[in-house]
């Protein structure tokens, strides 16, 4: 018989006390990052009730079980409110996996190595940008692995979205009505590249001559015909008070034009409930949002592993639920021992449709695992939840250099007020032969320049 060292409410009380004291350190039994630094495992930082679903539910839900409307009440406290409603009322199901305790399986290997290597060196400069002790741009990994403030969490997230030096995601998007009808589907490509804080791609940590930039990022659409060739290139300044430059190729105009960039809450394509602002829960420069604050912490069920499905040759995921069985991705979740909940307000978007966003971060990795935004009345507006994972399963692996590729696998973007859903999945390849890849220098020339937009533009 296993004897619990801590009663089931110990961790709950701990989180409440920490919040009341304004203490932001992660970890219950010991500082999380101290435990991770020792052996890369989280076990010493959390009691058993936070390390397995069996422990949390006293065995009523086990690893491998599905959470459905029948048993969701047992884990209601582990779900964001919208996800709870989706399971309780819309037929969503969640498959429970074992909690990942090995830190190195929760983000790209090199990113985590750099996080360990560079911890303690980050600070904010006078303009609020993350710099090294010498005042230079950040050098890689999470700058604040043991975040003390909400803005530290968002600063790290904004610095590196996908945690690769460069990534190209082949994406399929599905837009569904509240009736569960698939109204639009798109194939698109999303590329991002960091000229600073590089941990893998040479030259590193900086691409000489590009230290004043934070990110090159583009998105383009391959299908359907009406959207083919539509592409946008964002070039982010390192200064997080500055809006990115935005260039676009609109098929009707057949040329690249510069576009205003301050409107980031607009649908890029018909039917979509996604905005540029939603990217990685931090799609805008850090200081175009403000009033960052930690509003909660505690365990959460989230998809931080099992997001890759190699059973389909193009990595496509199965669906279920909703009126027609197509509304939700088949999702694997695991018990995240500690999520930090942060709220922020769009201070530089006076007429944005959202009044604030609430983002759940995995305390182990500072990875955003869920987001809910609120409309101007303060009502829940849209929810986002994704699934990450190592691309290693069933004896198959998709490699990123020496290690299996780590990335997101699928995302739900759900408009609570209209019932419309946008589903995204990362696939192997989209139409036109554009294939998912990471840390490949060719990504810059192929996707992230004006010449690339010319190349990608429809004819």
């Amino acid at each position: 018989m296993h004897i619990r060292r801590y009663d089931p409410d110990y961790s709950r009380r701990h989180f409440l006390q920490q919040m009341a004291k304004g203490v932001a350190s992660a970890g219950v039994l010991m500082p999380l990052w101290q435990a991770l630094a020792q052996n890369g495992e989280i076990n010493k930082a959390y009691p058993e009730e936070l390390l397995s679903i069996e422990g949390y539910t006293k065995g009523r839900i086990k690893t491998g079980d599905e959470i459905t409307a029948a048993n969701v009440e047992l884990v209601k406290d582990l779900l964001e409110p919208i996800k709870y409603v989706q399971v309780a009322k819309m037929g969503r199901r969640l498959r429970v996996a074992k909690t990942t305790t090995d830190l190195m399986r929760l983000s790209p290997w090199e990113y985590l190595e750099a996080t360990l290597r560079n911890q303690g060196q980050a600070r904010f400069d006078a303009r609020g940008n993350v710099v090294t002790a010498e005042g230079k741009p950040w050098i890689g990994g999470s700058p604040f692995p043991a975040p003390q403030t909400a803005v530290e969490l968002f600063a790290g997230l904004t610095l590196s979205w996908g945690r690769h030096d460069a990534a190209f995601y082949a994406i399929k998007e599905y837009d569904l009505s509240s009736d569960g009808d698939l109204r639009f589907n798109y194939e698109c490509g999303w590329a991002e590249l960091s000229p600073i804080a590089r941990v893998c791609m040479e030259p590193k940590p900086y691409w000489p001559g590009h230290e004043d930039k934070l990110r090159y990022q583009s998105v383009f659409f391959q299908t359907p015909e009406s959207a083919r060739g539509t592409s946008f290139l964002n070039i982010w300044a390192y200064d997080q008070s500055t809006f990115p430059d935005l260039y676009g190729y609109v098929p009707a105009f057949k040329r690249i034009r510069q576009f205003p960039t301050d409107q980031r809450f607009e649908p890029l394509i018909p039917g979509s409930t996604l905005y540029l602002s939603d990217a990685w829960c931090a799609g805008d420069p850090l200081y175009t949002w403000g009033n960052y604050k930690i509003v909660g912490r505690g365990p959460l069920l989230a998809g931080v592993s099992g997001g890759w499905d190699p059973s389909h040759p193009n990595w496509e995921h199965g669906t279920h639920g909703g009126p027609q069985g197509k509304t939700f991705w088949n999702t694997t979740v695991e018990l995240v021992p500690e999520a930090i909940v942060v709220e922020a307000e769009p201070v530089k978007f006076p007429r944005a449709p959202v009044s604030k966003k609430r983002v759940w971060f995995d305390a182990r990795t500072q990875l955003p695992i869920s987001m809910v935004s609120f409309d101007r009345r303060g009502e829940p507006y849209r929810s986002f939840d994704g699934a990450y994972g190592l691309y290693e399963a069933d004896g198959k692996a998709f490699m990123d250099g020496k290690h299996p590729y780590w990335s997101w696998g699928h995302v739900h973007a759900f408009d609570i007020q209209t019932g419309t859903m946008t589903r995204l999945e990362q696939v192997r390849t989209i139409s036109g032969g554009h294939a998912t890849r990471a840390n490949d220098p060719v990504i810059y020339d192929k996707y992230l320049t004006n010449a690339a937009l010319m190349h990608l533009g429809s004819t």
């Binding site: 607009e266 036109g432 010449a451």
Partner: protein, 696 residues
């Protein structure tokens, strides 16, 4: 990988090869492996994709005006005009005696000296004429079924083959003009020009020039259908280099609709001309051309973009098609082939540098090109047809007979006429009133235009007793004399020629960084200008000597998104201003502006001209939430009195279907003379257009 839908056997074969290659790639399971084309070689990463749409497009006319450039839209089909013939001042005594006039009369000094009397059964000297063409009143301006498809074949990671096919059919039933219906026993039929364009029913799609029935590569057309490949290219991309070789179109510049730096391609104005949905600019209008285009990203911020292309002209709507802009009393001889401009050695080429430096952007353009719009002038008709023995109404045509007799020993009046820009066939200009109305409408000088047609074609014009005039009154006399002598009317022949020119352009843009949410924040201000030294223009007289002027064109563009409410996505606004110094937006010389239907008797020129042209465009797009609906609005305003207003709505209920509707409102009489503004003569384009698209 890409999906193939409705592909032919070849494409399916390619797809199967691509599928096999892809499976192999998956099993390798390495992102690094898949990213290097050199390791995979040809077909290793092959992928085939195909997509397209089909879309009927219908335009309902809301105007009671037909296109006046067409036979059945000519207002003089319903308006009668008086005509008085005069004894030609250079006819000596030969015509006097032939006309039964006493040779004791003083010799005529000009075209108003001696009126030809009406002598029943002998001579017609005066009459009243209405064009013998039945007017029409079409309910539909456009009935088109359009299908487009694009096939992309990725051969290697660096090399793609892309081809786009566009097919159009016009299956409408219009009250249109059929040339044989104009044939009569006096003048016969329309003999001059390309019979495919002037001899039968309207030819909606075939683009033909003199001496070449197939001047556009990769285009196949019949009178009611058009199939062509606006794109068929090999696309090579490696590192910062991007190369496109094949049939393609190229667009430059930040300004929309105003073509300042967008100087590479001509426009294809068949189908819906410039009256399509303005928010799409010239999306399907640029004339594709076999070209080599090289883009090179010199630095992060600087893009070099160069091209060399086979010269292909702007394509105008054919005679009597719905949006034709050249009056059909003219027969056009396009010299694109006759002058050898269709040779592969006739190349246009240019280079653009585009730099993005944060809030600032810069463009510089230099091209050496053949102006695709071409220029026009009178040309010998080449139609050898004697003047008829009878004239309108069947009365004896003593004037014509006398001209015939006077030329009997030198090959006949037909031969002489063939050396002039005129042809005595139906469907031409029937009265001086009509002549001056149309001259003004197309921005030409009716008085000096007549003189140019005479002076430039000596001695043939002298042989038929034509002579220059000193003023409007004489021009009226001479014109009406010849229309009566020709048996009712004359058709005019003009030619279209092409000249090389150098276009230099600069553009700069600035993104304003203002208070968040303010009207100025993220406002993009763009200024573009071009300079063309010694550009060749059509003379308002259509004289043989083209005009040469240094041309300056400038445009100011301001655009921004502004969110009025949190309930709706931001509205996208564009405000543009254009200034031109030599020609108007359609390329017509500003010296031809300001003409009217009548002038003072002693007027020596038909139009005063204007010194510059200014245009303002204001447009916006308002998407609804999720962009299922999108309202568009565009207006083009000419401060001299013309306005085009185009509201529209796009509805996209799902991924397959899209429904667009837009209305064109054109008012060319906001302030007086419509020939003083850009839109004069285009009021027939008041219409509602509906398009229902299905994409696959």
């Amino acid at each position: 990988m890409g999906k193939a839908r409705n592909l032919g056997p070849i494409a399916l074969g390619l797809l199967l090869m691509g599928g096999a290659a892809q499976a192999q790639d998956n099993s390798s399971g390495s992102s690094a492996d898949s990213s290097d084309s050199s390791s995979g070689g040809w077909f290793h990463d092959m992928d085939v994709s195909f997509g397209g749409f089909i879309r009927p497009e219908v335009a309902f006319s809301t105007s009671n005006q037909e296109n006046p450039n067409n036979q059945r839209g000519n207002p003089y089909d319903s308006i009668s005009a008086p005509r008085q013939a005069y004894v030609p001042p250079n006819s000596g005594t030969a015509l006097l005696s032939a006309l039964g006039l006493p040779i004791t009369l003083p010799l005529p000094l000009n075209w108003n000296s001696i009126p030809v009397p009406n002598v029943p059964l002998v001579a017609t000297g005066t009459d009243t004429v209405t064009r013998p063409i039945a007017p029409s009143n079409n309910a539909f301006n456009l009935h088109i079924l359009r299908g487009e498809g694009e096939l992309g074949v990725k051969l290697t990671n660096d090399l793609k083959f892309i081809t786009r096919v566009r097919a159009l059919g016009d299956f409408g039933h219009y009250s249109d003009f059929r040339a044989p219906s104009a044939c009569n026993s006096i003048e016969g039929c329309i003999d001059g020009g390309n019979p495919a364009l002037y001899g039968g029913a309207p030819n909606y799609f075939q683009y033909q020039v003199d001496g070449n029935k197939h001047p556009n590569p990769l285009e196949w057309a019949g009178p009611n259908y058009l199939v062509y490949f606006p794109t068929m290219i090999l696309d090579y991309n490696h590192g910062p280099l991007n190369v496109r070789l094949g049939n393609q179109s190229i667009a430059w510049g930040q300004a929309i609709f105003f073509r300042v730096l967008d100087v590479v391609d001509g426009l294809d104005l068949r189908r819906h001309s410039v009256l399509d949905y303005a928010q799409e600019e010239y999306s399907d209008k640029r004339v594709p051309s076999p070209a080599l285009r090289i883009g090179y990203q010199l630095t992060d911020d600087v893009l070099a973009d160069g091209y060399v292309q086979k010269f292909q002209p702007t394509v105008y709507g054919n005679p009597n098609t719905q949006y034709n802009i050249i009056p059909v009393q003219f027969t056009v001889h396009d010299r694109y082939s006759d002058d050898g401009d269709d040779k592969w050695s006739k190349l246009s080429y240019g280079m653009r540098l585009k730099a993005n430096l944060g809030q600032w952007g810069f463009q510089a353009v230099a091209t050496r090109r053949y102006n695709p719009d071409g220029v026009f002038r009178w040309t010998a008709s080449g139609v050898s047809k004697n003047l008829p023995g009878t004239t309108t109404g069947g009365a004896p045509n003593l004037l014509g007979t006398a001209v015939n007799l006077a030329n009997a020993t030198s090959g006949g009046a037909g031969k002489a006429l063939s050396g002039t820009p005129f042809e005595a066939s139906p469907g031409g200009v029937y009265s001086a009133n009509e002549w001056f109305h149309y001259a003004s409408m197309v921005r030409l000088d009716g008085i000096q235009g007549l003189n140019a047609a005479i002076n430039d074609f000596q001695p043939s014009t002298t042989k038929v007793f034509a002579s220059p005039v000193q003023n409007y009154q004489q021009a009226v006399g001479e014109l009406n004399t010849f229309f009566i002598a020709a048996g009712g009317d004359l058709r005019g022949h003009i030619e279209r020629d092409y000249f090389q020119e150098t276009v230099l352009g600069l553009g700069t843009s600035y993104v304003v960084d203002g208070e968040p949410g303010s009207i100025l924040d993220q406002l993009i201000i763009n200024v573009e200008g071009s300079y063309t030294p010694a550009r060749v223009y059509t003379s308002p007289t259509l004289g043989k000597d083209f005009q040469h002027s240094n041309d300056y064109v400038g445009a100011l563009v301001m655009e921004k998104y502004y969110r009025f409410t949190d309930a709706f996505p931001a509205t996208y606004f564009v405000l543009q201003y254009m200034h031109r110094t030599r020609d108007d937006l359609f390329g017509r010389s500003l010296k031809g502006y300001g003409g009217t239907d009548t002038y003072d008797a002693n007027a020596t020129t038909g139009n005063p001209g204007v010194t510059n042209a200014n245009y303002v465009v204001f447009a916006f797009q308002q998407p609804f939430p999720q962009d299922i609906y999108r309202v568009g609005f565009a207006t083009l305003y000419d401060p001299r009195g013309g306005i085009l207003v185009q509201p529209g709505l796009q509805y996209k209920p799902n991924g397959h279907w899209s429904i667009d509707g837009f209305y064109n409102y054109i008012n060319d009489r906001l302030s007086g003379n419509p020939n003083n503004n850009l839109l004069g003569g285009l009021a027939f384009g008041n219409e509602f257009t509906l398009r229902v698209g299905y994409q696959f």
